[in-house]
């Protein structure tokens, strides 16, 4: 672990209680977040990306979702053991989050300004009302919203999707957090607007040296903005490395499959795309051993018997697959 590590997730297990019994949605995941860097968490729907974010933020649905073991170390304190009041202060002030759909995350009956003032009321009680207004306008300007003085009085529905996401980012960054968790922040946006928002996030990061956890299923977005990548599958981390290594030499069959499935801009049109057969298994009916084995073309007998552990294959590259280790 290096000195700049600001958040460290260790062997995190999150369980959801359902009518059919407990389901372990996250099964011992670990990763570190470094100051000023962007970590991408990728994987298909249902792999546990968003639950990871909710676990860090303490936003698991109460009382069904619970962290059952593991640690989330933020600057030396364990967020898992933190009291709700303390967590309340940390959230928003030091760790902040933006969501996929700003229309559901923003309150439709309050103006943009009101929603920004709320952040200041909670976390910066020292500011007077007029100072709050100035700070809010300043924040909207920083995220590139034109005519910020007027936009402070509009309601979310009066803004376009891209502008709404900018407002979300303004709210999230109002208290200059150390960590921003972005859960599919550009999935609902058009490509041109997506490029604008990714650019904005990179600029804000350069100004404040905050760490970003970017949750996405889009490998293109990962390649564009991430420094480190955590690939998740069915509640496990299956591969973890820096972005250049991941795209140059992906080791886990799942990562390889994900990358081959993307239609390339320089590929042969109408050629057969790579696929991963089947779909993500139901969390209640996980196969024994390696959770990916039923969709894996390299499956061996060992894969059904034992679950592979995440292990380093070189400095800063860890993979959880029996085959990769045999190769070495």
């Amino acid at each position: 672990m290096n000195n700049d590590c600001i958040l460290s997730v260790k062997e995190l297990e999150t369980t959801f209680t359902t009518d059919d019994g407990d389901i372990r949605v996250l099964d011992g995941i670990s990763f570190d977040i470094t100051k000023g860097k962007t970590v991408g968490i990728v994987g298909e729907s249902g792999c546990g990306k968003s639950v990871t974010a909710a676990s860090i933020m303490g936003l698991l649905p109460h009382p069904y979702g619970k962290i059952t073991s593991g640690e989330i170390n933020y600057k030396g304190t364990d967020l898992v053991k933190m009291l709700p009041e303390e967590l309340y202060r940390t959230r928003g002030n030091e760790i902040s989050m933006i969501f996929q759909d700003p229309m559901t995350a923003l309150n439709p009956v309050h103006t943009v300004g009101k929603q920004l003032y709320e952040v200041f009321e909670l976390h910066r009680p020292d500011l007077s009302t007029s100072e709050q207004k100035l700070a809010a306008i300043e924040m909207l300007k920083r995220v590139g919203i034109p005519a910020a003085e007027e936009r402070i009085n509009v309601y979310p529905h009066e803004l376009s999707g891209g502008m709404r996401q900018r407002v979300m980012i303004a709210i999230a960054l109002a208290c200059e957090p150390e960590i921003l968790i972005a859960d599919e922040p550009t999935t609902a946006l058009d490509v041109t607007v997506q490029a604008q928002i990714l650019d904005l996030m990179a600029n804000m990061q350069a100004q404040s040296n905050m760490a970003i956890i970017l949750i996405t299923h889009d490998m293109g977005v990962v390649a564009e903005v991430c420094d480190e990548v955590v690939v998740m599958y069915a509640g496990h981390v299956v591969e973890k490395t820096d972005v250049f290594t991941l795209f140059a030499s992906p080791k886990h069959p799942y990562t390889q499959g994900l990358l081959q499935a993307i239609p390339r801009i320089d590929g042969i049109p109408k050629s057969t795309l790579g696929t991963i057969p089947g779909s993500v298994p139901n969390l209640r009916e996980m196969p024994s051993g390696c959770r990916f084995r039923n969709r894996c073309q390299y499956q061996t007998e060992q894969c059904a018997k034992d679950a592979p552990q995440l292990a380093s294959i070189s400095e800063n590259h860890a993979v959880s697959c029996f085959l990769v280790r045999e190769e070495i």
Binding site: A195, V221, L258, K270
Partner: protein, 326 residues
Amino acid sequence: MTKAILEVINLKQYYPLRGGLFSKTKYVYAVDDVSFSVKAGETLGLVGESGCGKSSLGRSLLKLLEPTSGQIIYNGQDITHFTPKQMVSLRKEMQIIFQDPMESLNSRHTVGSILEEPFEIHKIGTKKERQQKVRNLLIKVGLSASAAERYPHEFSGGQRQRIGIARAIALNPKLIICDEAVSALDVSVQSQIINLLIELQKTMNLALIFIAHDLSVVRHISDNIAVMYLGKVVEMSDTQSLFANPQHPYTRALIAAIPLPDPRLRGKRKLLKGDVPSPMSPPDGCHFASRCYLSTLKCTVSYPDLKMSSANHSVACHLAMEEAST
């Protein structure tokens, strides 16, 4: 040269907005003077940002909307003013696949009865023959025949999209419109569905109109691509020429905005400013002028017509035309 299966000439689809008693009715110009043609066995990709009119276009082609003006010629027959009754027999040949199969499949019916419905409507075969047809369909789209007894919610998103495709190909159509058919799927499943569509197109000689916002997907599946902006086609070309030599600044910006799955290529791109203006009151002159980094005075005054810049490649931009003529 094979004949076009679908030809669209100057199609307009306006949505009236209710004005006041004395004020003039305003319109949303969802599709504004669009022309193109599609041949059997070919795919036309329609791309553009949300609100550019691509879905409205898809719906008016099938006459799910009544076109405001223009002509839709299917197989040599002008269907623009066909009544719904006249359309029924044509529906066998023209089908649509939607983005969200959960919303387009009736959740109270089994997959078997959903897939049997097209045969029932068109009175094809006996009950037994129909059930056999359903089983064949399911196998054709990569599901097991036993899927017929289950309900849509028992399937994953990708499998549901396969059911949607099975329903669309049930009556051996000649043309299928895919409206964001793979947008809601995970990449690994998305590639399965794209492969399936390409394979079905080959075996059935299908014409596809593929509406999507993801340019790399559209590039992969299309023979020709039309780029739409605020209801108008701004550039149309065969796929290869469009990507090798994009001429409209909007097309260039769209291509540049695609995040490429290669970290070595990151950064260094021209960002498009602003959002799509409202289609209710599109700006005078070129609709794209307000966001264009090349716009000149001329662009804000007159709308550039779609003109051929080379064989198979047309573009609606004053500057691109000047470039081509010099």
